[in-house]
């Protein structure tokens, strides 16, 4: 009932979108207090409201593997399956960094590789700090661009096994993406010209 994916949802990577989070962990989220109290009956706007009040990202922590609020809202989004326009709007906004991080993770989980690269690479320019809950319990300092980098390179982020992402080189060779222009290129050129002069 409250834990079922919305009826109009489409399958993501061949399965029910909620199954992107593995069964054992999903069950821990369903049994958590935050999910039952705060994530019950939420719509997309409700999730936004809660995400704005987030103060950390992370998977699960402690010996009990307690899920973070970030993960509960992530599962709620997978359950609601907001459409592409909504996710784009949440990714583009710069006012709320934790909401942006949530949207970025959702994007990485659900969208095809070409879109993932083209939409998440601009987030490399977001240098804001994020508080991350480590699996042992205490918090760690990270940044939005570090988080996005881990989404694009790593397999296991926030206790979720990310779906396989084709390597950027492969997509460039196939012509689906233009070669990557790093934001540091301008700085590099200007510094190399300085060193020459």
């Amino acid at each position: 009932m409250a834990n079922r994916t919305v009826a109009t949802a489409q399958s993501i990577h061949g399965t029910n979108p909620q199954y992107l989070i593995e069964k054992a962990y999903r069950q821990r989220i369903y049994d958590s207090l935050y999910w039952k109290e705060h994530c019950f009956g939420l719509t997309v706007t409700g999730v936004m409201e809660k995400a704005v009040d987030l103060n950390s990202i992370g998977g699960c922590y402690g010996a009990n593997r307690k899920p973070t609020e970030f993960m509960c809202l992530m599962l709620k989004m997978l359950q609601l399956q907001p459409d592409r326009q909504m996710i784009d709007a949440l990714l583009d906004q710069t006012d709320f960094k934790y909401l942006r991080a949530l949207a970025a993770l959702y994007f990485r989980l659900t969208q095809p590789p070409k879109d993932v690269y083209s939409r998440l690479e601009p987030l490399y320019r977001d240098y804001r700090k994020l508080r991350m809950r480590t699996s042992d319990g205490p918090f760690e300092l990270t940044h939005v661009d570090e988080f996005v980098d881990s989404l694009l390179r790593e397999n296991f982020v926030c206790y979720i096994t990310l779906p396989l992402l084709t390597k950027r080189i492969a997509l460039e060779d196939a012509g689906a993406l233009p070669p990557r222009i790093s934001p540091l290129d301008d700085e590099y050129e200007s510094s190399s010209s300085d060193s020459e002069s």
Binding site: M1, V6, A7, E37, H38, G41, V44, E49, Q93
Partner: protein
């Protein structure tokens, strides 16, 4: 049209006879047959211990509202440390645990209480469907605007922060707290003094009956 052997309309020459509307009575007969059939089936199922069969013809009641989130914080810790006199009655409201007024049910456990509140039966009692409202991109953009404005208001409020004013305010609050605490202590002492005097009258009655004035040792 029913005709007799001569090809005449049978009914034509019988205008004095009573006529019934065939259609209504046919429908009545069909309904009655249907009803007896379903009742027989349900009776058999009940004998076997099954529930009556769900039939499409019976209309499902439309739930008026869509599923909503909990607006107010659910108070699970309100009774922690408190003592409650429990009635031995069967009524659910007197039992220890978490009581749900809407369903007249007491649940022993906070997690089960949350499951109950989020569950189908409770929502049915509140005449709510288990489906959540579907939203559009416009709702999302409007919500983003609201959140931005709220953030701005919050920032503006903190921009008016004046250190010295805040210090004065805090000093006032501390003074008031001290006064309150003194008052409370004075009242408490008065109450205790009164209680001692009433205790003495109680012990007179006890002395008459039992021969002792108080329990406990008189040793110093």
């Amino acid at each position: 049209m029913s005709t007799n052997a001569y090809g005449e309309d049978k009914r034509a020459g019988e205008s004095f006879r009573r006529n019934w509307d065939d259609d209504t009575y046919e429908k009545k007969a069909q309904d009655r047959e249907q009803k007896t059939r379903t009742e027989e089936e349900d009776e058999e199922r009940r004998r076997k211990g099954l529930k009556p069969r769900v039939r499409n013809s019976e209309a499902k009641p439309e739930r008026k509202e869509l599923l909503q989130a909990h607006k107010h914080a659910i108070n699970l810790e309100g009774m922690v440390g408190k003592t409650q006199v429990v009635q031995a009655s069967v009524a659910a409201s007197g039992q220890p645990g978490f009581y749900c007024k809407v369903c007249d049910v007491t649940v022993k456990d906070s997690m089960s209480y949350l499951d109950h509140i989020n569950g189908r039966n409770h929502q049915r009692m509140l005449n709510r469907s288990m489906k959540v409202a579907a939203e559009t991109i416009d709702d999302v953009l409007a919500k983003l605007e609201d959140l931005r404005k709220a953030k701005q208001r919050h920032n503006m409020a903190s921009a008016d922060y004046n250190f010295h004013e805040q210090v004065k305010l805090q000093q006032q609050i501390d003074q008031e707290k001290k006064l309150k605490r003194k008052e409370a202590r004075r009242r408490h002492q008065e109450a205790r003094a009164q209680a001692e005097t009433t205790d003495e009258t109680k012990s007179d009655a006890m002395e008459l009956v039992l021969g002792i004035s108080s329990f406990g040792s008189t040793k110093k």
